[in-house]
Assembly symmetry: C2
């Protein structure tokens, strides 16, 4: 079998592969990570590469994704192109899975890392600081002939004085070497104990006083990004946070395509390993930065949607995907780190935030915990906009929730120049008198537009009457920035000479249509839910908006495009990544984790696909801000 | 390094070993199992072999164990002799660890295998038939949009209707593949559930109705023998029983020498592996004989003394051995078969009978369960004679117990021609008018004497005034069977021409002395315990005698030599291996296992080494039947 060399630019990463290997696989081997939404089926057009030298045939799908000019320039789909020559290949910025710093949390939750107690505002109940895994230093009386109970009974006798568990569960591993350990350390040992319902689960017994060395991880497993926080469980202090793109994205950008990948190709294990690798890499970095030993990390609380939680536990998502949408589990057992290959203390306890249903996951339960929705007597609302728009409305007595397939548009998915809220993303934009001004993350040259920027774009285009309220370019308006090609009309936001890629950053009519569908789905879901409950928007005391928009979200514009209902601006709170914040609350307080379980059991999930009014609400919402302008009295274009 | 060939007779097993290997290790490599009490330290003289051809030097210890004639005939200690030539070696019958059928249980417990309910006599309470591991067949309603709870919730919802557990503990293993499994089998599955305190522990979910295929093991891990019974947990029927010598005997015959071996040589794992190999070999044989698949064996209940239980769990026995005699654990956690390498269903539950203290083990607790001592209002007594004589006295309100180092004499240990109750053992003997008549197990040619035979021998020698009541040969009596050699006087029980080995089976004065010490220790312990309680022997409603004597035990003679107190004969019950019987009770009834835990907690252990009157009782008991003849009014020699 012949081998060829493939060089990936701009990083000049070289790799030798066998003849016939796809460029996608070659890139993976070279550790060049390329976007894909469809899992390598030639359907999404995300994995576009430009072949600069060497022979590579344009594939049969190319015509659907590239202009004739692009094909002439050597553009191909990585997943459909086989290596049959030595190649030099450019990876365009938009095809790269960026490994840079990601915005890891909103302001509400992450602003108080120094505080030991877990609380949000003074009006809400406190959860006591009592991590699910504690370390207790014990100085035991040595045995005598008058007191010669077994070693383990001597330990539990002492533990019972310090911890309020009904009983203790002892693993065989804890018993083995216990005898020598106790005697070598003159009966001074530290017990690591996890709360497992009302039982104390003895995880480890170490010699001497190691009670200071007790760390935990709060983990958000997002479809797009994985965020890990390292927390000192003795003090509650957050020591650091790291994030990276979810490596699963190589096998499909959204949840559905990954489910298809797992179910039709028997590749569950691949997705499982990808997320475990994510967590381990981030944890390793955090441990190194903070001088913490991995074996001193004794607990991890993970929050993710139901599918992500299933992938983490190596559970098939196949029945989640299809009616009647049944997950394997919604409330997950406490497991040990070694059972799923999380590289912390092998006997460390791993808790997964409970889900409610297949499309109402632990990330939303974590969000509810974070914003305190379930603790208040007033009715408030949580809206989490990701691939699905998940919405919960309720108070301390009831919670109703639903999810709508909003698509990943506000996270940049399916938008030609859309991107996540990372370096170079346009996060703010204004159009005035034909001039476009913008602000990018890290003040870099523009590479694309993230969620908050996209909200701005829609609003600004409509306000300047460049598009009509149906999202189509206004045929009357003439604007030098409007260009037509490949059967689509685009508005140039940034000219090529100002961008990082040397290509113009534009917004196309199909992009706008996708964004309107996305905001329409979220609004229609919220409207349906409020109608179901029999409440009006104004009866909501607060709306908490969570998601990966970027931190510059302008609530006024989010209302103006009809993403959010037209309520008092001060009632709207952007809480960013409420999933990791909720995971950290559970990591700092068993009571918070128990509350999360209780929340998940109390939540009534409305399946919108079974709720006929939703579809007409959705159609009515495909307008800026809405076909029923009475719903948005404050909005005037 | 040179290699030599060693051939072991009579089985002609050949093995090649490196120069300098001990004959003991060579034998092990050849799968020839040789007795050893001291663990290969040259101290016990049990591993004697006869070198028939090839050069092998008599070792420095030989002179202490062999006559000059024997040394000339090539007798050596296997553990002290290094291979430096090709050798042909005879393994004398008495040095062989026999792998034959062993008497596995007494009559009381094993006579009712057909009965489902676990009970002993009509006066005692019944334990309900409710094995610790049950299989439940479930026909689940398939999920619909109106009922789309998670797969595992669907299972536990149904299980809660059938099993009275407060909650269910789910392992990650049970969740993995659950989704496919349920759907492939049209929602008809069988759940295997173990009782874990008050929680139901889900061990396995299989497709279809497999509830018939549920088997369990009752295991007695004796220091000398390992006995395994295979039980159908659906019906309670005992399908078969197998036994073998404890393979640990290679490393030391008694508990103490094995502890020394484990602690001074870091060889805990070796002893652990030996007993696991024992159990696995017996289980494999039972499964094959009964057409049972190993993975359908879902539960094992093991009973053994505290040290044996520690070896099984790979726990060091080192602190058991020395004051203040502290085990790692007395009540053991429920573990899974795979955790200790027991080759049944890897997720099968393994329970260990709870111990009381270092020298009061789960075998005794099992014995108490078997004889019903803890269920009655009347005070009864259990005496288990093995290496330790363990004694428990009590009723349904209190139990007091103690153990005395009685030595292994009544199991044949330390007695020149002593042997276990297997084929060829003299189990009954009578001396009348100078004639010796005897009965052997399996009516084979005599190979040695087992416990019941040894009781008879002492009694008969004393009755015929061949020995005095102090156990010494009567210098006045002349008897052609009395011979003197090697500084010891022996009585010939069977002449060489009638034995299997071609050597006379004899009883030496030192043997008699050992037996008297052994019976004296047991009696003194019982007497001390009764005095401690303030009761006389006649107040005991029953004495249950357990141990490996052989089934022909004559209670009258056991009293006459002063092993048992002089009470009504009908109050004495020989119950044989009560340890395996108790393990089976626990295997058939969770309630019985819970009762065992409660028994172990209720037992007050008296450390005789800390109880001064014991030593004078012991000295007073070194006489036949006793120095205080008023204690044995019915005994007249």
């Amino acid at each position: 079998m012949r081998e060829y060399k493939v060089t990936f630019l701009p990083d000049r990463k070289e790799v030798k592969v066998e003849e016939g290997t796809t460029l996608f696989d070659a890139a993976e081997k070279a550790e060049v990570y390329i976007n894909s939404m469809c899992g390598g089926q030639g359907l999404c057009g995300e994995c576009r590469l430009q072949v600069l030298s060497g022979n590579a045939k344009a594939d049969k799908y190319a015509i659907g994704f590239f202009s004739v000019e692009e094909i002439q320039k050597g553009y191909v789909l990585a997943c459909q192109t086989k290596v049959e020559d030595n190649l030099e290949v450019m990876v365009p910025a938009r095809s790269r899975l960026e490994m840079e710093k990601i915005i890891t949390e909103g302001t509400l939750a992450y602003s108080e890392p120094e505080k030991v107690s877990v609380h949000r505002t003074s009006r809400q109940p406190m959860y006591p600081f009592e991590p699910p895994v504690t370390k207790v230093y014990l100085e035991l009386p040595p045995p005598t002939m008058k007191d010669n109970i077994s070693d383990i009974d001597r330990i539990t006798r002492e533990l019972k004085k310090k911890l309020a568990f009904s009983s203790f569960e002892i693993s065989l591993g804890c018993l083995q070497n216990l005898s020598d350990n106790l005697r070598q350390h003159q009966w001074k040992v530290t017990a690591t104990v996890a709360r497992h319902d009302s039982i104390g689960r003895l995880l480890q017994i170490e010699g001497g006083d190691t009670s200071e060395q007790n760390y935990g991880l709060a983990i958000d497993i997002g479809t797009t990004t994985v965020v890990v926080q390292l927390v000192h469980l003795k003090t509650g202090k957050v020591l650091g946070v790291e994030a990276s793109h979810n490596l699963q994205a190589r096998y499909g950008e959204d949840v559905i395509s990954r489910m298809v990948f797992a179910c039709t190709r028997g590749s569950l294990k691949t997705l499982n390993e990808a997320v475990v690798a994510n967590i381990n890499a981030l944890t390793r970095a955090l441990a190194r930065e903070n001088g913490v030993k991995l074996e001193d990390i004794n607990c991890a609380v993970c929050a993710g949607n139901t599918t992500m939680s299933h992938f983490l536990l190596n559970l098939t998502p196949c029945s989640i995907r299809m009616e009647p949408y049944v997950p394997t589990a919604a409330i997950y057992p406490q497991i040990l780190a070694r059972e799923i290959g999380i590289n912390i203390n092998p006997n460390g306890a791993v808790e997964i935030m409970p889900s409610v249903a297949s499309y109402m996951g632990g990330d939303i339960v974590a969000g509810i915990l974070t914003c305190g929705l379930a603790d208040r007597t007033e009715v408030t609302c949580l809206i989490d906009v990701g691939t699905n728009g998940e919405i919960a409305v309720g108070n301390n007595e009831w919670i109703v929730c639903c999810s709508a397939s909003a698509g990943p548009a506000f996270e940049g998915g399916g938008i030609k120049w859309g991107m996540h809220a990372t370096r170079g993303a346009i996060e703010k934009i204004e159009i005035k008198d034909g001039q476009v001004t913008y602000k990018t993350i890290s003040k870099s040259k523009p590479r694309g537009i993230c969620g908050s920027g996209l909200i701005d774009v829609i609003y600004e285009l409509a306000r300047n009457r460049i598009i009509d309220q149906d999202g189509k370019f206004n045929p009357i308006t003439s604007n030098e920035r409007i260009v037509t090609g490949d059967g689509d009309t685009e508005f140039i936001l940034v000219y090529p000479e100002q961008t990082e890629t040397g290509q113009a950053v534009t917004i196309a009519e199909t992009d706008i249509s996708n964004l309107i569908k996305s905001k329409g789905a979220v609004f229609a879901a919220l409207k349906s839910l409020m109608d179901y409950i029999g409440m009006s928007f104004n009866q909501l005391e607060a709306i908490y908006l969570a998601g990966g928009f970027g931190s510059s979200l302008d609530a006024r514009k989010a209302i103006a495009i009809g993403l959010l209902p037209d309520i008092d601006l001060h009632k709207i709170h952007f809480i960013g990544n409420s999933s990791v914040a909720g995971a950290r609350m559970a990591l700092l307080s068993s009571a918070a984790f128990e509350a999360a379980k209780s929340i998940s059991r109390r939540m009534t999930n409305i399946e919108l696909s079974n709720y006929p009014p939703f579809m007409s609400e959705f159609i009515a919402a495909l307008f800026l801000p809405h076909t029923d302008s009475k719903l948005f009295p404050s909005v005037h274009y």
